[in-house]
């Protein structure tokens, strides 16, 4: 196994492009190292991207948007004084992952590139409209988060490509986001269903919304029918029921050890309603 710690993303990209066999990028390592120890994957090339300048930075840009370095940990996001005020749903989703120890290592980028449909941070990022910069042999491109995973364990990243930064939009006025997941326990578990909601209001009326579901399909879903069900409403009971119905209708889950098709379909609607209420309250400036 070859281990590299390049000083730039261009160098990392070149290393990956020229590598043979199995290549893995190493940031927090909370997936890669576990998979190596469990004999699930033994990479031929391991490219550690933690030593590239700026990868641990959380930056608020002049336009109010945020740039998150690819090695920023969950703990660093949770401890940031302002990020969670703008995007509590994204920060809380990341914070749900693993233990305190894992929070000291795990990253948004790693959670995204692991391409699990049950990844907690991904529905929250999709709802928030997060984009990523993909660096590859042909330079950089900007890609919405929802276009990165293509199937469980698979991404749209080509050989030699890697994510070099994440961008969260400016929060703007009267907006709120929330992420909820269902697990049978209280922590240290994996989502059976996850739901991210991000919305903006004008007065009491929802003017913009993005709703995303996790663990109910091969990839995280951005469900436009859910958004349509609540845009233009004051999130009254009828809107919530329409939201739940749209969420359930969007589900394409499997029966497995973590839950049944019926359960996931039903609970997707329940979580959509609950997350929407929290996001709505946050948009109104209420504590939730």
């Amino acid at each position: 196994m070859d281990y590299h710690s390049p000083a730039s993303f261009a160098e990392a990209s070149a290393l990956a492009a020229n590598a043979t066999g199995i290549t893995r990028f190493l940031a927090g390592g909370t997936d890669v190292l576990v998979q190596m120890r469990a004999d699930i994957v033994t990479p031929d090339t391991l490219i550690d991207i933690k030593k590239i300048d700026g990868v641990r930075d959380i930056t608020r840009n002049d336009d109010g948007s945020w740039t998150i370095g690819v090695a920023v940990t969950g703990a660093e996001m949770s401890e940031h004084p302002e990020l969670g005020r703008d995007w509590p749903g994204v920060v809380e989703a990341m914070d749900l992952i693993g233990s305190t120890q894992v929070q000291g290592r795990a990253t948004l980028t790693g959670n995204l590139c692991n391409a699990s449909p049950a990844a907690d941070s991904v529905p929250a990022m999709v709802a928030a409209g997060v984009t990523v910069t993909v660096t590859g042999p042909n330079g950089d491109r900007e890609v919405p988060v929802e276009q990165i995973p293509t199937a469980p364990g698979r991404t749209s990243l080509a050989k030699g490509e890697l994510i070099s930064a994440l961008h969260i939009p400016a929060r703007g006025e009267n907006g709120g986001d929330a992420y909820l997941r269902f697990i049978p326990r209280t922590e240290m578990d994996i989502a059976v269903v996850g739901c991210g909601v991000n919305l903006r209001i004008d007065g009491d009326t929802i003017t913009e919304a993005r709703v995303s579901l996790g663990a109910v399909a091969p990839t995280v879903l951005l469900v436009e029918d859910c958004a349509r069900a609540i845009i233009g409403t004051k999130l009254d009971e009828a809107a919530l029921e329409a939201l739940a119905a749209a969420a359930s209708a969007a589900c394409n889950p499997i029966n497995d050890k973590r839950g049944t098709i019926e359960f996931r379909t039903e609970v997707a609607g329940v979580l959509a309603k609950r997350a929407a209420r929290i996001a709505y309250a946050r948009a109104k400036g209420e504590k939730a």
């Binding site: 469990a38 004999d39 269902f182 049978p184 326990r185 209280t186 922590e187 240290m188 578990d189 994996i190 059976v192 497995d256 050890k257 973590r258 839950g259 049944t260 019926e262 359960f263 039903e266 609970v267 329940v270």
Partner: protein
């Protein structure tokens, strides 16, 4: 045995001193199974069957053996009858051998088929990939009811014993039937009869420390084995038999143990490590991964049960009947008999009948898990009693009190009870503020009683006094529940010296006589009894030395507060002679002073508990939260009350896991789907409420200080108590465990 020298007032017993192993454990100094190293040590790894049931056509180990780093490869051939040092095996030894290394067939997903010893753990792991095994995959069955159907695949012909009635499927290997009275007449007398079917899934003990050992065995037949186990004499006996060496030539030392709960009462990797070591002529360390622990150690049995109970309007049970089918994996041993015997044991019944089946499937060989078999039966029986109370409008504690077994009651499984404490636990439950606390909307409360036999077992203890008057106690029962603290307290009580002046060691097989495993809630009872007797034996010798010094008869000397004193005014006028003054001179006054005791004590004393549980059910998701939990159990006499409370709380915590989320999940292919802690969901700390405890003390007449074992009874009531709470909260009877959110939500939907 009845004892006439029972003590009732105590100086040390009943206090809560610091645990003697505490500093070692919080500083990492304690040595567990994987913490031992030896010069020249190799690392072992085991190749396991990916198939639930397959004939092993051929194993080719040549490519693995050709690797430079590989020093030994073993298969079943290395244990076979053709090997000169290996006589034929019979009975349970044969079953254990078949389990630790597959013979003609792989019998479950995870069954060991070969093993490698190499110079590093990574090299051993990679060498396994070079072993080529040709399998002929056979039909499999993992469900207990399906395994009993006529067309079920046969796991092994001829495994059934004489107890099984004719005409049953060969997978039914043991049968138990007991009871008394006329159940049909009893049902006819009832105002309400409820019969229902219940299922529980297999669970794992979930001990945090995976099995680990370091083995050394030479071709001279002499060996050393370090391992984490609940009983190193059974390891010694079993490994010696499987490897064809003399028992006494294998010295086994028990490491510190990171949990066992019954699952470490047999062997899995130890004979394999010894075989590798013998072949490589080097020490071999073997450490299981968590996945191996789930796939290839001993989870509980799963159960399919039918229970029928008749009750009068006043709450009197007129008859009770149960059929309990237990699936115990690919070998005989599922505790269908224990389930049947314990199911109705809390009640004074005129008419009772119980049947238990031990059924084989293509799953790992079940092992003990705290009160093996009892929790499942209690779940079924106590659920039916709860439903009868609900339908007849009766208070569940009053009904249990009305029918409770007392001293002299003929137990459902045969004998008459001596003094027992069930009624006292029920009365304490009724008086507890928890029972009268108001419930919030969406919450329900559940009650259950539970019973366990408890056990005595072969026990040896030695106690040696040092010159400074301190004492070292050697016990042979690995400390899985704070027994070193309890032994020190009991020895302190007899010797009259401080707890801190006593060091208790778990001795190895070469330095103490035979000891049965730390199981059956027996350690505080049996090793405790032996410690008391060994200390008394030393005290007799101390009194002899004092008598000689004073020139008076030994019966004129008694032992008080750590000193020899004249037994009365007529014995003479001598100042008290402290222990340290006697031991300081012991080399010159007759030699070192020790105390010993060996016995198989028979008075373990059965144990009862009553649990109260509040549960809240989220009607939209089916998720259950346990909001309040109270354990009330008879400890006879609590030697170290903090440890007793810990046992109570641990039983409840494990019961909550078993009731709500833990389960072995098999796919259509017969493979275990959830062999990691992520998907085998034991409760995390934040899942649990503070578990309140009440220690009831109804002394056991069979122990000098009144001890009843407390390690197992605590896991008997939780499944039923939680199921009753959830059922009452949800408004629908939950008959299948675990009550996972998908199952509860489906039940709620079916009800609506």
């Amino acid at each position: 045995m009845a004892l006439d020298d029972r003590k009732t007032d105590f100086k040390f017993v009943g206090t809560r001193p610091d645990r003697p192993d505490g500093l070692d454990k919080v500083t990492g100094r304690a040595k567990f199974g994987a913490d031992m190293y030896a010069p020249g040590m190799l690392h072992g790894a085991i190749l396991r069957s990916p198939h639930a049931h397959a004939r092993i056509v051929k194993i080719d180990t040549s490519k693995a053996e050709a690797l430079k780093d590989v020093k030994a490869v073993v298969t079943r051939a290395d244990f076979s009858d053709e090997v000169e040092f290996k006589p034929g095996l019979e009975g349970e030894f044969w079953n254990v051998l078949e389990n630790v290394m597959a013979g003609e067939k792989a019998l479950y997903d995870g069954h060991a088929v070969a093993a490698v010893a190499a110079t590093s753990a990574l090299a051993a792991r990679d060498a396994l990939k070079l072993i080529e095994v040709e399998y002929e995959v056979l039909p499999h069955v993992t469900d207990v009811d399906k395994a009993m159907e006529p067309d079920a695949p046969v796991i092994r012909e001829g495994a059934a014993d004489y107890s099984v009635p004719e005409g049953m499927h060969p997978n039914v290997v043991r049968y138990h039937e007991s009871g008394h009275g006329d159940v049909e007449a009893g049902f006819a007398e009832a105002d309400l009869v409820i019969e229902d079917h219940f299922d529980t899934e297999a669970t794992h003990q979930g001990y945090i420390e995976p099995h680990a050992c370091l083995a050394m065995l030479g071709n001279d037949g002499k060996g050393e084995l370090w391992c984490c186990t609940q009983g190193h004499w059974i390891v010694q006996k079993t490994c010696a038999a499987l490897l064809g060496i003399e028992t006494s030539q294998l010295r086994v030392t028990a490491s510190e143990i990171g949990g066992g709960f019954g699952g470490k009462t047999t062997v899995f990797i130890e004979p394999v490590a010894l075989a590798l070591s013998r072949k490589a002529n080097r020490p071999v360390k073997l450490v299981m991964s968590r996945s191996e622990v789930f796939r290839a150690t001993g989870p509980t049995a799963s159960a399919s049960m039918d229970v029928k109970i008749g009750m009068k309007k006043d709450g009197t049970i007129t008859a009770a009947q149960g059929v309990f089918r237990l699936q115990g994996g690919a070998f005989p041993g599922a505790p269908g008999d224990f389930t049947a015997m314990c199911a109705f044991a809390p009640y004074n019944l005129t008419n009772v009948r119980q049947v238990g089946y031990d059924v084989m499937t293509n799953r790992p060989k079940q092992a003990a898990y705290r009160a093996p078999g009892a929790p499942m039966g209690a779940f079924a029986v106590e659920s039916v009693i709860d439903e009868l109370c609900n339908q007849l409008g009766l208070d569940p504690i009053d009904v249990r009190l009305k029918n409770a077994a007392r001293e002299g009651t003929k137990a459902s499984y045969g004998p008459r009870y001596p003094r027992i404490g069930l009624v006292e636990t029920l009365e304490a439950a009724k008086a507890h503020p928890h029972y009268s606390a108001p419930l919030k909307p969406g919450q329900g409360r559940g009650i259950s009683c539970g019973f366990w036999f408890n056990h005595g077992g072969e026990t040896s203890v030695s106690l040696a006094l040092s010159e400074d008057g301190s004492a070292q106690v050697m016990v042979g029962t690995p400390d899985i529940g704070g027994s070193r603290a309890s032994m020190a307290l009991m020895a302190a009580e007899v010797l009259g010296i401080p707890y801190e002046n006593i060091r208790v060691t778990v001795a190895d097989t070469a330095t103490l006589g035979y000891n049965d495993v730390s199981h059956g809630s027996r350690v505080t009872y049996a090793s405790g009894l032996a410690t008391i007797k060994a200390a008394q034996n030393a005290v007799e010798k101390l009194c002899e030395r004092a008598a000689a010094k004073w020139g008076i008869p030994v019966d004129a000397v008694k032992w008080e507060n750590g000193c020899a004193v004249p037994s009365g005014p007529n014995a003479g006028d001598f100042d008290p002679l402290p222990i340290a003054e006697i031991t300081a001179d012991m080399g010159r006054t007759g030699g070192p002073i020790s105390g010993h005791f060996e016995a198989t004590p028979e008075g373990a004393g059965v144990s009862f508990g009553t649990h109260i549980v509040d549960a809240e059910v989220d009607r939209e998701t089916g998720k259950t939260t346990i909001t309040r939990y109270t354990v009330i159990q008879d400890a006879g006499k609590a030697i170290h009350p903090t440890y007793v409370e810990g046992q109570f709380q641990g039983g409840a915590a494990q019961g909550i896991g078993w009731a709500l989320n833990e389960e072995y999940i098999y796919g259509e292919d017969g493979r275990l789907q959830n062999a990691v802690f992520l998907d085998y969901r034991i409760p995390v700390a934040s899942d649990l409420p503070m578990i309140d405890t009440v220690i009831v003390e109804v002394p056991n007449p069979g122990h000098p200080f009144g001890v009843r074992g407390v390690g197992e009874t605590g896991i008997v009531p939780p499944l039923a108590a939680i199921a009753n709470a959830v059922s009452n909260a949800a408004g629908v009877r939950m008959r299948q465990l675990p009550m996972s959110p998908p199952r509860v939500l489906a039940a709620l939907k079916g009800d609506g």
